[in-house]
Each structure stands twice: as C-alpha cells, then as structure tokens.
Assembly symmetry: C3
C-alpha cells in the first residue's frame, strides 16, 4: 500500500480536489478492495467495515445509474442507505429550506451522497454542516452541468487499469468524442489527465460542440498538448483510448441539438478495424446511437467494465471518507 | 432431503420449466426453510447464507404484493435488494435501450427479479445476459398476461401442504372459479397440476370467461380429466380445493368486463356449509367481492397462508438459483 | 434500570396510553441506548438485537422527516424496513380494501409503522390484526390532525433531558407558541405534561389559533395551571422551555391562514436576550419563518437535538414493542 502523500478529503466535491498522489493511492486501494470480491469471506469482511453506518442518497436530479452504483457501493460496505429521490414528497412542500432539509438528513446519517440540478449546492451544504456539532461528509454525485467528480475518478481508474500493462497513463493519446461543450465528464476528466505527463488529448466533435474556453485555457496553461478536430476517423485511429459521449440534449434551451449534425461522430462496428489493437473504448453511459452495440463483444470495449469500476471506485472513496481505508489490507499481488 | 432428479434452473422464466421431481424437491426445501423461522438463531442462519449478495427488483408493472413478497424473501436471506419501480425516472428517459438498462443493473447485482408488462422480455434479457462475461439469474415475477411462474409454484406448494394429511395432491378435484380466460395463474397452475396423476379440474365461470383453447388442448393432450361448467354451487361442493380468482379487468380493451354477469361466481359465507369439510379455499389475492371477508376465519380459508407461503416459496427459489439450497440442512421432521 | 410499573404496550396508538412510570422508564432506556452509539461495538450490538426482524413503513401521508427518523431507527436495530409511500401504485388500485392491504403487509413483517391521513385507521387495523393468527404491533406515526404519539414522546424526552440538571420537568413553565388550534403536537404534549406536578403551561397565539375546548377542559379537569395569551414577549420571557410551532395551513379549508396575523409570534434573534439563561428552545420542525435560523447557534437552541432525540426515542419504542428492551443493559452512569 502506497504511503499517502495527500491531504485526506473531508468531502468529495470537485474533481479538481485530487492530485496524482491521491489518484495513485485510489488506484491501489480499488484494486485491493476488488480482491475481497473474490470470496464470500472477503465480501463479508467488507460489509462489516461499515455495517454500523448509515448514508443518505439525496438524488433530486434523476440518475438511475449513478444512484444504483452508489447504493450498491453502500451495500458492499454494509452501510444502510436511505434515499430521497423526489423532493416534492418531502418537507420542502411544507416550506422548509433546503438547508434545513439537509441538516435534518445529516442528523440521521453518517454520510450524504447528493445529486442535484443546482450548481454549487453541495459546497454550500458541506460548509453549513462543517459548522454544526455533527458534521458529516458530502459526496457530490453530480451537480447539474457543473461537477461529477466520482465519474471523473472512475474514468481515471479505468484508464489506469487499461494501461497497466503499457506503462500506465503517461504518454498516451486520449481521444474524446461527441458533445464536448456540455459534457461535464469531458471537462473533469481532461483536468485530471493533466496529472499524467505526456498525455495528449484529441477532441473530436462537430464545430458546435467544441470544448469551452475555460478548458482550452486551462490546458494551454498546463502545457498539455491537445488538438481539436472534426476528423473523427483520423482521431480514433491515433488514440490509445477513445472516450465516447452522447449529446447532452437535456441541457438544450430550444432543441438546438436537433440542428447539429453529429452523424460523423458515431463509433460503428466497421470502425473497429482502424483502431489500435489495444485501444480502450470507453463511454460513461447511457449511450444512444453514438456507440454501436455490435461493438460490445470486442475485447477493446471497456464501457461495461468501466461501469462496474464505478461501483468499486465509490466503495473506495467511501472507505476513505469514513476512515476505514486503512482496514483494506489484503496483500497487493 | 430428496436427491434432485432435475436439471437445476439457471433462471425462472416459466412454470412450464418445472416437472414433478423439482416440485417435490421444492416442497421439502420450503418446509425445511420454515423450520429456521422458528428461532432467532435459525433466522440469523438464513440471513448469513446470502448476506454478501445483492439483487435488483425491477418492477415496471406495479404489484405491491409480489414486490413485497420478493423483497421480504431477499431480506430473509440477507440479500440487499435495490429497486426500480418507475422506469420514467430511469436512464430510459435519456434514450437508453431496455437491454442496456438491464445489463447495467446486472453489473451491480447477483440476481434480477423482474416484472414487466412486456411479454417475453424476461426471456430476452436472460439470453442477453447469458452471453456476457457476468451473467446473473433472472426471475420472472410476472410478465403481463403471459407468465407468473412463482405464483404457480406457491400455489402448488399450498396445495401440497393442504393435502399433506390426505395422501398429497394426486387424485384430488381442484375447482377454479372466475375469470379463467385472462387469469394467467389459472393457466400456469393447471399446467403444473398435470404432474399429479388423477387430478380432476373443474372450471366454473361465466361463458365469457371460459378457459382459452390453448389450455383446453393441452389438458386433452395430457389426458387430464376436466369439466367446464357454469354451475358454481355443484362445482364447489365437489371440490377438494377451490381456487377463486378476480375479474382481470386491467386487461379490458373496452370495459367489456362490465357486460359480463359474474354475480353467480362469488364465494359467500352461506356457501361454507356446502363445502367438503377439508376443502382448501385459495385465492391469489388481491380480492374484490368474489370472496367474502366473513370467510376469513373459517379454518378452510387458506388464502392468507397461501400469501405467506409465497414468501417462503420465493426464499426457496432464490436459494436454488444462487446455489445455497444445499446449506438448508435442518432435519426434516 | 427502573423496574417497570406499567402495562407493556402491544401497539403505540395514542399519547394518552402513557403515564409517568412509562415515561420515566422510556427516559432511562433511551439514555442507555445512546451509550451504545458511542462505539462500533455498541452499534453492532444494537443491530444484532433485531437483525432477524422486518418492518413495514406504510406512509400514505407524506412526511420525509418522520419517515427517515423511523427508517433510521429500524436500521440502528438491524430491522429490514420495507416501505409503501404511494398507495396509488399498490393493490388498492385493483380494488383491494385497506384492511386486506395491511393484512398482506402484516403477513410479511413483524411490525407496521403507519402514517395515514385517515383518523382512526391505526386503531382499526390494530384491532383487525389482533384477531388474526399472526398479529403484529402497530405504531401510529401520525394520523391526520388526530394523533402523533411518537412526536409527543420525543418532546417529553427532550424536556426531561433539558431539565435533567434542574430537578426534572416538575414545576417548570412551558410556553407553546403558534397555531395551537390545529397543531396535534401541542395537544398531545400538553396532555402528557399533566404527568409532571407543578408544570405551568403558557399558550401564546393569535386569537384565531387558541387551543381547542377539549384541551382546555382537560387541563381544567386535571387542575393544571395554564394561561392563554397574545403577549408573546412576556410569555417567552417567563418560560423554562419554549415550544414553537408553524401554522398548519395544510389543514386549511379555504386559505383561512392567510387572514390571520401571526407576525407577532415569531422567535427572532433579538428575542434571545430576553429569554431565561437555561431556556430550552424547541420546535417539531419543519420550520418556516416563525423560528429564525440565526438562533441555531445559540446554546439554548434545542430543536436539532430534539430531532435526533426523535430517532433514539423511536429506537427505544421499537425495542419495547418487539420485546428486546431488557437486552439494553449498559450500566447507567
């Protein structure tokens, strides 16, 4: 187990909290945790780690996938998870402030995992709770178009794992495809990738979906080589990993997505022949037609593993926040 | 414990999967499991059998009763059960295919229990998952007007138990009453009853609700004696077990149920005097007015026990699918 | 541990069930239980007490706060809690009676916790189940404008705890403020307070929200000194505890609350200087503007503790109903 050379997080609010020492520690921790998944004894051990703890899953922005991933992570650790998925049935109807609602939840549990369409709400609640006699950690499970740090962390883990036989993430070419303008995953992941020297980023999208200025400036500042292109075929052929994304039309103001021609940015079965032989194909899911289901059986398809990695990543993050990661002690092979 | 002389099921998709050896094994298994219910130690033993497992209850067709029965069965075995009850809050809203949604759920859990209005969906998903690196068993918890195998199995168990002091189900006369045309339970149970030599079936219903041709042909092929009648009073008087059902008007296309006179096919308190003294009165519940609540206290009323039998039947089926039925070892009395 | 000098309750249906011996026993029991909360071992001990039991949370009247409090209490004791929160998805849609629905739930669980807008439903169901072969205890978690006994019990506990260094609740002056006409908490708590000799009650409200005649008569009968006033400032200055309540406008028939001037009955930060130095400020929550959030950090603000007390009170009540309170044996300090 790597000695930690990072400040232990009190909350998980933003991908920008995390630097390379944390990412390396997390990678080893997840790999160790997964060894416990190989036997009933191992799984029972994990469940007893936090069997006396309770969590609140406060998901006022719908997301079945992320919800279930966190719920499963809680279950693996024995944590009892309560849930709020529809704020309209809650006390908020009786005129309660969101601060009071969340302080109430906090008074019943040891951890709050929250997904909300309101940007900045997690940070506000974390600060509020930190001032009470019984603060509890907050995990941001997605805040509108803003942040989704655990997605970025599971993506990094998946990349680390994809490249473990190839000297790691350093020096690799990562191609991101699709709606790069509104996809928060792309932004968070790109920022985290600046922790790995030599990484080159290729952004392949229709002109309307190019990355935003803030990310562009950040990458220039960091001196990370990147390229923006509309040439999908060349980009994917050069990539060590392809990160597909779907059009985020839930953020459309006036159905503007319908006017954008994304047809050239779909990964199809016939493209497989042009990819590198060890290329890792990723997607945060859910997918639409930008990623052909016929690809699922190709050994390079990594998105289903990526999804399951998400569950294990969340297990690891929870053990860190609740201070039991040091009990994860199975020898690293 | 009876030696198994059947192929162990990978999924539970249809009542027609099961033959007599399985039904006999299941009967003994359920009886043994219920002995664990007599003490805290026994219940704790059951919970530790599968305390490291997770299940998904995917119920996109509403059914509180069946849902709670399965949820309780999971709880008894220590299984953490996640749930989807309203697909409109799920990723399907973001344009995801049902195959992708279910593969996602499968990636988080060890068992999927699904109830869906879509006929054949369970089979399709079972086949899909069988081709992935991480297949999980599927239980069909009701698929539209199509199949509801666990209901049929709990009905068989209840009949076996009703007749345990009377040489078993063989040779008994079972009378089914009500909407025999659309009640999937009637169809599944009738088919399973062909495993018991000498069983005679009486179908009592208004002409509009007679059994369908497929069942009629099947029974003729199997050489099972049966009778279709509109004479409710004679039928119930001749029966060793009466299986009441309600009008399935949720499958009405144009309120056609309102035009059918079902008034002569309701079991009332005053009928009790004409029944055999050991007759077993059953109903899959929920009931409306076809079964008089005044009957509830009669010792022949078996429907509340039948409901609780359902929970234990599901416990048994899950232990079989997840391979821990051999750990159910309390001596059979 | 105090020897019990009360009849053990089979159900918790009304605050009026409970007399002083029960309240004293409950106080000690809760305090003992909370000692288990200080260590993982203690919490694991609590979870194993009822880890083999299952409960149903039947909440057809929305209440996130009470729901979560009970759900957490179940979790602390290891009880698996199923839930019904929206009766429209249940079998009631198929024409089932509420009696049949609840008997069904009872057949799967060991305890039913129910909140319903229907006055008297809990009592009716408790009587029904008592006549079945498998009765289970019922907890009334709020029945319309009628009863909310666990709220009254947690309020009493909070008062007992507030005054533990001041010779207990006897002889104290308790001021209740707000909508005293429709707040069921006020009624139940006032009745319970008649168990404490020398308690004086001050009811401060707009004229339209004065207490109802039934409570007034009861207090006169019991010889409890009380005063009804519109002088908020004098009342709070005289109080050892202030119990704030919000306007219960969910019971408005024709928006009549809008016509009542409640502005003089709000506790603001500037009032703090006029309160007794050990005054306990309480509120059942959720609050609106009748209780200034700026007060939260004052050491006399007890409402957040009161909320958490609710969870522990419910833990204690469940251990009593399910007969494991005698296993709560940590020495009282």
């Amino acid at each position: 187990m790597i000695r930690e050379q990072f400040e232990r997080p009190q909350h998980i609010l933003s991908a920008s909290q995390f630097g390379r020492p944390f990412l390396d520690y997390m990678y080893e921790l997840i790999n160790t945790i997964r060894k416990y998944d190989k036997s009933k004894d191992g799984l029972v051990y994990l469940q007893n780690l936090l069997g006396h703890r309770r969590a609140m899953l406060y998901f006022t922005q719908p997301s079945t996938r992320t919800f279930l991933s966190f719920q499963s992570a809680c279950g693996i650790l024995g944590i009892k998870a309560a849930e709020i998925r529809d704020p309209s049935t809650s006390s908020e109807r009786k005129g309660e402030s969101v601060e009071d609602s969340l302080r109430t939840f906090a008074s019943y549990v040891d951890l709050i995992i929250m997904r909300s369409p309101v940007a900045g709400l997690c940070d506000r609640i974390a600060r509020l709770l930190d001032e009470t006699p019984r603060p509890v950690p907050i995990i941001n499970a997605g805040s509108g178009p803003d942040e989704h740090p655990t997605q970025a962390l599971l993506d990094i883990y998946t990349l680390q794992r994809s490249f473990k036989a190839a000297d790691g993430v350093e020096g690799k070419t990562i191609c991101m495809v699709g709606d790069l303008k509104r996809g928060r995953t792309v932004r968070s992941l790109s920022r985290l990738l600046t922790n790995y020297p030599g990484v080159r980023l290729l952004f392949a999208s229709p002109p309307e979906y190019r990355i935003e200025n803030d990310l562009r400036s950040f990458l220039l500042d960091q001196g990370v080589p990147f390229e923006e292109t509309t040439n999908f075929r060349d980009a994917i052929a050069a990539a060590d990993a392809i990160y597909m994304t779907r059009v985020q039309d839930e953020y459309d103001v006036a159905a503007e997505s319908k006017k954008v021609d994304s047809s050239a940015f779909k990964l199809k079965f016939e493209h497989l022949a042009s990819l590198k032989k060890d290329c890792s194909i990723m997607h945060p899911l859910p997918r639409r037609d930008e990623l052909d289901p016929a690809i699922d059986k190709d050994p390079r398809a990594n998105y289903w593993r990526q999804e399951r990695n998400g569950m294990w990543t969340r297990v690891a993050l929870i053990t860190i926040l609740l201070g039991v990661d040091h009990n994860i002690v199975l020898p690293t092979l």
